[in-house]
Every structure is written in structure tokens, then in C-alpha cells.
């Protein structure tokens, strides 16, 4: 692989989704003297933020308060969120969503022209702003289009970062492949922000786009940064069978009902009742995602779910909402159901089942979005800051990428303003080593292992060991399988040796990331001997604050993850039983 000279910037953002673009704009606004780069393996408007549907939580109305939003979030997190971080989050949320309004986001409106708010799972009042049911799409495009007005932001579209360059313990750049011509270059920066989103693709059945392979988490992990709380993987209760396409929680916020094969609203049997016709905050279909996903599995075990070609499912019934409301507030749900399962929700219930949706864990950061590695920052789903703890509330993640994207951009910009330029000699050596590694490991390797085989076995192992219900024996088996797959990955062979747009090379690099992320998830899960939020152990069914009111930290070693712990910050909400 030939190489290019080092490109130099002050701040480099890896990932061009919501968090990355918000960070880039914040850095540009912090100082006009800074050169800011956004590197992404896809064009920014293709980023997975685009698929978010339901909305963005912020305190907007007189009947709401910051403390209520904080309490809901902490309660939803099963008390694993850091409460100082949650307090900062809810305080900055309203300003961030208004800022986005000022940047053109087409929020849905009340008749008086104010932005509308809708109910969402686990929230006590209506506080979820939305743009019909394409909130993420509109936020992403508003951020991307707004970013175009800043001359100080340059982009590396369709570049893939293969490693962080670290010199004297300080992160000073990345080595990256330009997918268009296959060259490997160094891009140096005084501060780097990881905003690459989650890694839901380590599971076989997920709402996540193909690109969600945890690349940024793996980059940081390999450079020595810990991944925090990786065992917490959110199943969304309503995905389409087969494809895993998301049917937004907003469909329940608008009043949709979940029914088993007898047409019965089964959630009332699990302490979420009473089953009222109109939606009631935090009850029934507006319960939190972890609990609703477990209820589904229990219905299945009782034989009360439907059986289809893609496994068990229940019905999400929107018929009583009527065509007018569905078309106004849930048009995308109608489009998706019609296209992908041939069901028009105006006339028929939608088949749905729980599906892997979100990673609460990620690169460990402090409240300023800084990681333990000097010069490295992270925000959005790629990071764990942590506001989501053991279970994220729906509509907090889009807000999170705004609040902490902005914080990361500011922190990185301030850091860059204080630091001297990166020295180029050591960087040249580092990137030359990286070129050799990619050449030997992938482009000239003639191993017999296939990417698709290892990827499928990894996904199967993750579903078996790290699904909705977990227990020691299967998790141990999963950890063992993942180690073996890591060994087999060393013997991978590519059929594509081209320099130009080699998507097979990218798929191999993504699989490398997935192996790291999956091992961090499975090993973190194995050692957490309690049930909290999304992490449900059949062998340890109770929450255990005495032993596990703490964050997990996974550090990468050649022999697999080394697990450590970090205290949870409690400010004003002492842990109590989580009951809805």
C-alpha cells in the first residue's frame, strides 16, 4: 500500500453522525483559528443517526422539571448512571435542542408554533421532541448541512481509521485508509474525538445498520483506553421479524398496544398495569425497554406469542389510532411496515419482536467527554459517560449526542489550543508500520478463513450467551468461542486484492473491531453476577448493590479483556427498588 504525507489538523473527529458533526461544529465555534477534520467511513448523511425515529428528550414545558428528567433517567438506568453527569445532561438538553431548531431542524409543531413534545417510555411527562417519526434523519441532515457553512471544517469522506497513533502516551493522530484509492495516510491532530456509534452488528438480529461494527470503540480499546459497562446491551421490544427494522417507541407513545396471540395486552400481567385505553406515562406500553423485552420473552415461554418464519412475535396494534394520526405522526412506521412485512398498520397489527438496538457501554469518558488517554475524547453511543447506566430511556440518546457531542468538541478544541503541534517524525514511522501491518495481515495474506463465516459464528455466539436472559455456562461458552474466533481471524484470506474501493478489506477491518467489542461485552457480562437493567442473569436474578453498584471497565490484553471497576457517582437519588 502506498502512502501519503501526513495531513495535519488541530481537532480530528472520527465519525460523521450526529455526535461527530455536533462535536465538529462546537470545535469550530470555540475558535476560528482551529483546523477541524471529520473522518468517516461513509458520507456523513449515511451515518446511522439517520435511522433514529422517535425523538429527542429535553425539558421544554412548564409541567416538567430538570429534576424529573434526571430522576426518570437515573431510575431507568437502574441506578448505574453517574448522577452528576445526568444533572449536567438534563440541564444542557433544552439549549441543545433549541440550537438545533435554530439550525433548521424541522421539529413537529403545536398549533401555536412551539415545538411539540410526545410521551416516551419511562418518562414521567411529555418531553420528547420529534420530527414526525424521522427525528434522527432530520437531525442528521440539519447538522450535516449546517456543518457545510464552516470553512474550518474539512472532511475525509469514505476513509477508514485503522489505528490511533500514540506517542509518549499522548494520542496524536490516526492511520487511515482512503477507501477511494487504497492509500494509507497519517492524519495528525492535537485532539481526537471518537464518535463512531455503537456495535449492534455483533448480534445477528439488530436494528443497527451494516456500518455499526464498533470501530471507534475498538480503536480506543486497542490504544489502551478502557471500555465501560459493555455488558449492557439494549433490546428494543419492537423490531420487524426477519430484518430487525425498528418500529419506533413513538408508536406506543402515540397510543399503540402490544398484544399476544390471544389479543390480550399482556404487559398488565407483569406489574405494568392497569391496561387503560389511553397511554399513561411509565405504564403498560410506556414502560422501559429492558422490562418490555423481558415481558415478551416470558410470554414466549408461556406459549402465548405467535410463531412465524423468523421466530416468535407479538402484535403492535395501531389500528385504533386511525389513519390521520398515523400519517401525521408515524408515516415512516406505515411505510416500513408496508414495504418490509406487507402490513398496513391502519388496517392490521404489525408483527414485532425484541431486537438488539443500542449499547449503553462504550469508551469510558468523564463528564467533559475526555477519556483516560491524553488527547482522546469520545461522545455519543461510542462513549460511556455515563447517563444510560444499565438501561437507556428512549429519546435520551439523540439528546446525548447533542449535549456530549458539543461538550467533546469544546473540550477537544480547548485542549488543542493549549498544545504544540504534533511532531511528524514519530508519526511517519508509526504510519509506515501500519501500512506494513495492513499489507501483511490482509492484502497479501493467503489464509483460508472467510470473513462471513467468522462473522456469523461471532453473531451466533453473542445471541446465545449475551441475549435478553444470560447465565454463567452459556456466557463462558461464548467467551471461549470468541477467543477461538480471534485465533481464526489471524488466518483470514481476502479474495479482493485491489487498492481501489476494496470493501472486502473494510469488512475485514470491521470484523476485527467486532471481535474486540464482542469480547468486551461477553467478559464484562460474565463477571457481573447480578441482574440490573438490560443485564438479566437467570443465575443471579436480583440487583446486588453491595457488590455491583459500580461500572465495569474492560482493558484489552493479548489474552482477552482484563476487567476492573469504577465507582458510580450518586448525588441526590440514593438507589431504591426499580418498580414502575
Amino acid at each position: 500500500m502506498p502512502g501519503n504525507d501526513a495531513y495535519q489538523h488541530d481537532v480530528l473527529v472520527i465519525g460523521g453522525g450526529g455526535a461527530g458533526l455536533r462535536a465538529a461544529i462546537a470545535a469550530a465555534e470555540e475558535s476560528g483559528r482551529l483546523s477541524i477534520a471529520v473522518l468517516s467511513k461513509v458520507y456523513p448523511m449515511r451515518s446511522h443517526t439517520v435511522s433514529a425515529e422517535g425523538g429527542t428528550a429535553a425539558v421544554m414545558r412548564e409541567n416538567d422539571s430538570l429534576d424529573t428528567h434526571a430522576k426518570d433517567t437515573i431510575f431507568g438506568s437502574d441506578f448505574l448512571a453517574d448522577q452528576d453527569v445526568v444533572e449536567a445532561f438534563v440541564k444542557e438538553a433544552p439549549g441543545q435542542v433549541i440550537q438545533l431548531e435554530h439550525w433548521g431542524c424541522p421539529w413537529s409543531r403545536d398549533p401555536d408554533g412551539r415545538v411539540s413534545v410526545r410521551p416516551f417510555g419511562g418518562m414521567t411527562v411529555n418531553r420528547t421532541l420529534y420530527a414526525a417519526d424521522k427525528t434522527g434523519f432530520h437531525m442528521l441532515h440539519a447538522l450535516f448541512q449546517t456543518s457545510l457553512k464552516y470553512d474550518s471544517i474539512v472532511r475525509y469522506d469514505e476513509w477508514f481509521a485503522t489505528s490511533l497513533l500514540v506517542e509518549d502516551g499522548r494520542v496524536c493522530g490516526v492511520a487511515a485508509v482512503n477507501v477511494h484509492d487504497g492509500t494509507v495516510s497519517a492524519i495528525t491532530a492535537k485532539a481526537i474525538i471518537i464518535c463512531t456509534g455503537g456495535g449492534g452488528r455483533v448480534f445477528p438480529f439488530t436494528t443497527n445498520a451494516a456500518i455499526k461494527t464498533g470501530d471507534g470503540m475498538a480503536l480506543a480499546y486497542r490504544a489502551g483506553a478502557p471500555l465501560k459497562d459493555m455488558e449492557f446491551v439494549q433490546y428494543h421490544p419492537t423490531g420487524l421479524p426477519g430484518t430487525g427494522i425498528l418500529i419506533t417507541e413513538a408508536s406506543r407513545g402515540e397510543g399503540g398496544h402490544l398484544k399476544n396471540k390471544d389479543g390480550y395486552r399482556y404487559l398488565q400481567d407483569y406489574g405494568l398495569g392497569p391496561a387503560t385505553d389511553k397511554p399513561v406515562h411509565r405504564k403498560m406500553e410506556l414502560g422501559p425497554r429492558d422490562i418490555l423485552s423481558r415481558c415478551h420473552m416470558q410470554e414466549y415461554q408461556k406459549g402465548r406469542t405467535f410463531e412465524g418464519p423468523y421466530g416468535h412475535y407479538v402484535h403492535l396494534d395501531l389500528r385504533h389510532l386511525g389513519e390521520k394520526l398515523i400519517d401525521k405522526n408515524l408515516p415512516f412506521v406505515r411505510e416500513l411496515a408496508k414495504n418490509y412485512v406487507g402490513i398496513d398498520p391502519v388496517y392490521e397489527p404489525i408483527p414485532v419482536r425484541p431486537v438488539v438496538h443500542y449499547m449503553m457501554g462504550g469508551v469510558s469518558t468523564d463528564i467533559t467527554a475526555k477519556t483516560p488517554l491524553e488527547g482522546l475524547y469520545a461522545a455519543g453511543e461510542a462513549a460511556c459517560v455515563s447517563i444510560n447506566g444499565a438501561n437507556r430511556l428512549g429519546s435520551n440518546s439523540l439528546t446525548e449526542l447533542l449535549v456530549f457531542g458539543a461538550r467533546a468538541g469544546q473540550s477537544a478544541a480547548r485542549h488543542a489550543l493549549e498544545r504544540p503541534a504534533v511532531k511528524s517524525n514519530p508519526v511517519a514511522q508509526l504510519v509506515s508500520d501500519e501500512r506494513k501491518r495492513l499489507d501483511t495481515r490482509f492484502l497479501r495474506a493467503d489464509g483460508r478463513e472467510r470473513i462471513a463465516d467468522i462473522r456469523e459464528e461471532l453473531q451466533k455466539a453473542m445471541e446465545e450467551g449475551c441475549g435478553i436472559y444470560r447465565e454463567r455456562a452459556t456466557m463462558e461458552a461464548t467467551c471461549k468461542t470468541l477467543r477461538e474466533l480471534r485465533g481464526r481471524f489471524a488466518r483470514i484470506g481476502l479474495s479482493d486484492r485491489e487498492a481501489v474501493f476494496n470493501t472486502e478489506l473494510i469488512a475485514a477491518l470491521e470484523l476485527d473491531s467486532m471481535l474486540d467489542v464482542a469480547e468486551a461485552v461477553a467478559n464484562s457480562a460474565l463477571l457481573r453476577e447480578e441482574s440490573r437493567g438490560s443485564h438479566t442473569r437467570t443465575d443471579f436474578p436480583k440487583r446486588d448493590d453491595a457488590r455491583f453498584l459500580k461500572h465495569t471497565l474492560a482493558y484489552r490484553t493479548p489474552d482477552g479483556p482484563r476487567i476492573d471497576y469504577l465507582p458510580v457517582t450518586i448525588t441526590r437519588w440514593p438507589p431504591e427498588e426499580r418498580k414502575y
Binding site: H48, E101, A452
Partner: protein
Amino acid sequence: MTEETITLEVTRYRPGHDREPRTESFSVPYRKDWVVLDALNHIKDRVDGSLTYRWSCRMGVCGSCGMMVNGVPKLTCSAFLRDYHPGPIRVEPLANFPVIRDLVVALDDFMEKLRRVKPWLIRETERPVSEGEYRQTPAQLDAYKQFSMCINCMLCYAACPVYGLEPAFLGPAAIALAYRYNLDSRDEGYRVREPIVSDSVGVWECTFVGECSVVCPKGVDPAAAIQRSKVAGAKDWALSVLMPWGGRK
């Protein structure tokens, strides 16, 4: 029982090896709930790892997987095999774009045009965030909403005969986005965008074939945006002739 199959005739092109694109046939399992993208993924995972194309969300919103399917621009994640049964299905890169490799086309031209139309809110004075949101009624939102639904999938450029002949033409999606901001009650940038949209390779090139609106997978009507921009542009031109000191709308 042998599984039913369907044939995909896929355009292949490797720069530096192929003088021009060629067609390669692949037989894939025929499944009624598969889309063309599923078939391509099957080929890549099981038959030929070098097949090159873009994809991501597989739910019709990221805009990555646009290709020509039997000669029509489509999102391959929403193009079902059953609609092309019994085949064969011809899969080619989007028309009117330079091909980088196989089914991947270069987007540099659109990315530059997108930026050129200044697709962001332009205000004479920015309101401080502390003063809250700009009020916008549902009717004001509806005025521009459909033009904000563009996912930049490029199907409209692949369908546009004018763009095919005159690559400098701004094209349907870029003009629709300029129009989206011009129509937004919060925006004051019409005067800045108007000369860009109305210049010789802006709206005036369009001959109203309307194919852009037909192929749009998101129900955007770029043809309407172009037509209405022309009317507005013509009015401005007439005013500037009648009132040389500068017509105010």
C-alpha cells in the same frame, strides 16, 4: 427439492484492469422476502468477496444503495426480487455518474453542488438560544416539509436527462434543498441563494421531463421545486428590469 434461483446480471468494473465495464451473471436463491441488496450480500459473502457496492441502513433512509435495477434508478434495499420474477435482473451503477468500481459511483460533484446552494438557515440576526425557539406553525412547516425529506440517494440525478447531458446543471436534489430553505419561515437567505439557483446552469437548464419526481423514493417533488424556482426567478428578473434600483418582494 432444489431451491429456486434467480439470475442477477451485475455490472463489474475494475479500474486499471478493465477497459470498460462488463457484465457478470450470478445465480442466487430466490426468496420472496429478499430485496436486490440481500442478493448482492449473498454474492459477496458466499460467492465473490470482491463485488463492490455501498449499503448501510437497509431500511430506505440512509441513501447509500441506489443502483439501476432493470434500467430504473432504485434503492436496492427496497427493490424486492419478487417484483422482478422470474428475472434475470440487471443491476448497474447509477446512470450519469462516473463509476469508481463495479456498482460504486463518485459523488464528489453532488457534494460540491450541495454546499454551493447553502443548505443551512441564513438569518440577518441570529436569535440567542436563551430566547427559545423560533415559532413556526404546522402550516408553515408543511410549506417546506416535503422538500426536507430528501435523503441524497442520487436516484433523481440518475433519472435526469438534463444532468446526463449537462453535468454542470445543479440538478434536482440540490435545487430542491435550496428551495426547502427558501420556503422555511425561519430563513432569510433567498437573496443569497437565488443567484446561485438561477444562474445559467441552475433551474433554467431543466426541460421538465419530471423523471426526478417519479423516481424519488421519498415522495419529494424536485420538479415542482425547480418549476416554482423558475417562476420566482422570472419575477425577480422582471422586477429588476422594471425597477432597476432593486425590486423588493
